[in-house]
């Protein structure tokens, strides 16, 4: 009964491909996030959704498109993958946008 679950955990793909990462939380939280952690372990926010509404959209290339079909799910689709997209992508959720974040275990994306 994982609280925040992401799939896939590992993804290896070629440049130019399109891929998706899925995230689900069973905590009943109303806010979900995508973070990118680079090779230097720096965690940077990409997107945040509150009750299916986009509330944070950092300066992320528009090749990245989040989709929230309901408040328990936030998926991330990436078009035309580039080498620099290689990173660990963390999904997270929180209640009320001001509380602690609960993180998924991460999806390690490697672009060759």
């Amino acid at each position: 009964d994982t609280a925040v679950s992401q799939t896939p955990k590992y993804l290896v793909t070629q440049m130019g491909n399109d891929k998706s990462i899925k995230c689900e939380q069973n905590l009943g939280h109303d806010t979900m996030y995508w973070y990118k952690q680079d090779s230097k372990k720096f965690l940077k926010i990409m997107f945040s959704y509150n009750n299916k509404e986009l509330i944070i959209n950092e300066t992320v290339p528009n090749r990245f498109s989040p989709k929230s079909p309901d408040k328990a799910h936030l998926n991330l689709h990436i078009n035309s993958l580039e080498l620099g997209d290689s990173a660990v992508y963390f999904c997270a959720s929180s209640q009320n946008r001001a509380g602690e974040l609960f993180f998924g275990e991460g999806s390690r994306l490697t672009v060759l």
């Binding site: 925040v4 973070y35 230097k40 372990k41 720096f42 965690l43 940077k44 926010i45 945040s48 509330i55 944070i56 963390f90 946008r97 001001a98 509380g99 602690e100 974040l101 609960f102 993180f103 998924g104 275990e105 991460g106």
Partner: protein, 111 residues
């Protein structure tokens, strides 16, 4: 620009030593400061600090916030090898409710 600056970025200590990690943050619209521990996978929550001068403790870990000097300290006493991890500090701001992370303190505890 970095809203959250952590130091030292990495350190190696022996079991039993005490570790002190620093995190400084920007004041504008500051709401609270959070500490996370990241071992191999997901960051896990340690503390949330909102009020200045009130220490929070959990076992051998403790943390305090200084809202005058704009920093927080995370202390780990009697370190064990299981304390080896990256410790992430993050500040939360009113308005955008955005959690900004620092680059982390990498701690290695050797037997």
């Amino acid at each position: 620009e970095d809203k959250v600056v952590q130091s030292p970025l990495s350190l190696v200590v022996h079991e039993g030593d005490t570790v002190t990690l620093n995190c400084s943050y920007e004041v504008t619209n500051f709401r609270s400061l959070l500490w996370y521990k990241q071992e191999k996978k997901a960051p896990t929550f340690l503390f949330m600090l909102t009020s200045s001068g009130i220490e929070k403790k959990s076992g051998r870990l403790s943390s305090i916030l200084d809202k005058k000097e704009l920093f927080s300290i995370l202390n780990i006493t009697a370190t064990q090898t299981g304390d080896s991890a990256i410790y992430l500090c993050a500040s939360l701001y009113y308005g955008n409710n955005r959690l900004a992370f620092g680059k982390g303190n990498q701690v290695v505890v050797i037997p």
